[in-house]
């Protein structure tokens, strides 16, 4: 079978990464199909980056079986890396060089001729809307711009698979939406996206399928909608009582909704009908300082699965 027709694009069986005796990834099974957009969601230290680095063929697999394009990273790392694009968690740009130089030099690592590197650089900078910054050094650019340069750079080898480790962490909402839009376009062009994120809304926006990771393990897998259906009722009622009182007041709410989570700063009530639940709260004479009904999200799924909120 030729590696081009192999499906799935990524397949991992009982994938383990240990650093000394510390288990960063504790045996996960994952399959990503060509053209799919796949997410790893989880809190700090869940093992997302460790997984991405193994898939990116820079970090050796400790145990288990990993295939990318049907190839083995242990023996074919070079060939695999030639066909993927990597957006690492921390930008690795040369701050003293121009945007253009960063792009061209990176293309040279793939043995793409200089002229072709320049052609693609122009195209890609246009794609991430940074053409006017081509001659600017990296240093003075904003975080969002640097992130866009990193994404443009990762596309210089026209990868079939793009690995994005927290592509939008630290960006303001506007910059985040620009990036989401660009990633969505890449997906439409048939690029397979694998990304990690802390953000539920990002996963909901970008992923066809995702896994929720916690402490090196996969705790849930499915489409964002599936997970929400499976682990969280449709709506969430968020109540805020005066500072410190959330815990104490929660007892007044017994029996409302399917389930309740008490967080330090708010009480969450999961219900099929949030407004009805709120009416019931008021009917009991409980008066929170603020109340808000919203659709349940992956954040709620995560809370349900791990008992911890996904605050960043």
């Amino acid at each position: 079978m030729s590696s081009d027709t192999v499906n799935p694009l990524i397949s991992a069986q009982h994938l383990v990464k240990r650093f000394g005796s510390f288990v960063a990834v504790g045996g996960i099974d994952v399959e990503v199909q060509r053209g799919e957009s796949f997410g790893f969601l989880g809190p700090n230290g869940a093992g997302k980056s460790s997984t991405m680095r193994m898939i990116g063929c820079v970090s050796p697999v400790t145990e288990g079986r990993l295939r990318i394009f049907g190839l083995d990273p242990a023996t074919d790392g070079k060939q695999i890396r030639a066909r993927i694009g990597v957006v690492p968690q921390a930008d690795q740009l040369d701050e003293q060089l121009t945007v253009e130089d960063n792009m061209v030099l990176y293309g040279r690592y793939f043995d793409i001729p200089r002229k072709e590197c320049r052609r693609r650089t122009n195209e890609l900078l246009e794609f991430v809307q940074l053409s006017d910054r081509a001659k600017s050094k990296i240093e003075p650019l904003s975080g969002g711009m640097k992130r866009r340069v990193t994404i443009a750079r990762s596309l210089i080898n026209e990868p079939e698979l793009l690995l994005l480790d927290e592509p939008t962490t630290g960006l303001d909402p506007q910059a985040r939406h620009v990036l989401w839009d660009r990633l969505y376009r890449l997906k439409q062009r048939g690029v397979t996206l694998v990304l990690t994120t802390h953000y539920m809304d990002e996963a909901e926006q970008l992923c066809d399928r995702l896994v929720v990771m916690d402490q090196g393990k996969i705790v849930a897998m499915g489409s964002p909608q599936d997970l929400i259906h499976q682990y969280s009722p449709r709506e969430v009622l968020e109540l805020r009582y005066s500072a410190g009182a959330n815990e104490a007041r929660a007892g007044e709410l017994d029996g409302i909704g399917h389930r309740r989570e008490v967080l330090p700063d708010r009480v969450l009530i999961y219900a099929d009908d949030g407004e009805a639940a709120l009416a019931e709260v008021h009917a009991r004479g409980s008066h929170p300082e603020s109340a808000l009904v919203r659709r349940s999200s992956l954040e709620d799924v995560f809370l349900r699965l791990t008992g911890r909120s996904l605050a960043d």
Partner: protein, 260 residues
């Protein structure tokens, strides 16, 4: 047409240098010039008045004795600094080595690109010194053409092993100590300023083991046309071995660091 991987890795180091080449090259020329005028002419005037100076310096004036050694000491200084903070930066600050390792380049090729760059940087520095020596009648000779590669070789004999070591460090805490306790003593006791026969007897064999001394001997011999075949071979093999072994170990330490 494909370009060797290490050369492609080298391109980014060189491009970075191109952003500072003017000031760097001016420095590479002015520094040795000031040094030679100050030390060579100033101190030389005193030394040459000493009774048996000429005999101790093997028939050379102090300027003639001192100046060629500057090829080797400059290469040493430039190369050691290049093999410390920028290496740390490639792993930890700008993380350029990690960026390279995410591409088809292997860790060994990442290290290879850096080694090539170190050789380039040492050569640039040594050419700067040679240009200054060519301005003075006492050191102007075709031997300078030979002294340049000898100087560059001295440089990589330092940068290669030190690069291998820097790649094992998590912080730059130890770097100033390297300058203070290794490079500075070598600079002072490596035969650049006076013949090592002037050292206490017990120190002399130690000085002969230091790479700097071999580099100084090579450069001085080349400039004044006094190189014997046997001793040249010993010096070159010694320095080349250091460079080669250092580079081989760097390939390993780079692989460890990049493939965690």
């Amino acid at each position: 047409m494909s370009t060797p991987a290490a050369v492609r890795a080298w391109e980014s180091h060189f491009t970075l240098y191109r952003t500072i080449w003017k000031s760097n090259m001016l420095g590479a020329f002015l520094q040795p010039l000031l040094y030679l005028v100050g030390m060579g002419l100033g101190v030389g005037a005193l030394v040459d008045r000493g009774n048996d100076a000429e005999q101790l310096l093997d028939g050379l004036t102090y300027f003639q004795f001192l100046a060629p050694g500057l090829l080797a000491t400059t290469a040493m200084m430039v190369s050691t600094n290049e093999a410390m903070w920028p290496v740390m930066g490639g792993f930890k600050w700008m993380r350029g080595f990690h960026a390279q390792a995410a591409t088809p380049l292997s860790p060994g090729e990442v290290a290879g690109g850096l080694a090539l760059w170190h050789a380039t940087k040492a050569s640039i520095a040594v050419v700067g010194v040679a240009a200054v020596l060519a301005m003075f009648g006492e050191t102007r000779s075709f031997g300078l053409l030979l002294a340049v590669p000898f100087g560059a070789l001295t440089g990589v004999a330092f940068s290669a092993p030190l690069t291998a070591w820097s790649a094992t460090r998590e912080t730059d805490n130890s770097f100033p100590a390297i300058n203070r306790f290794i490079i500075m003593p070598l600079f002072l006791f490596g035969g650049a300023f006076y013949p090592i026969s002037q050292l206490p007897d017990w120190m002399e064999p130690i000085a002969e083991l230091t790479p700097l001394w071999h580099g100084v001997e090579l450069c001085r011999g080349a400039v004044h046309g006094r190189l014997g075949l046997g001793s040249t071979l010993v010096h070159v093999v010694y320095l080349a071995s250091l460079a080669l072994i250092g580079w081989l170990i760097a390939r390993i330490t780079f692989a460890r660091k990049l493939a965690a």
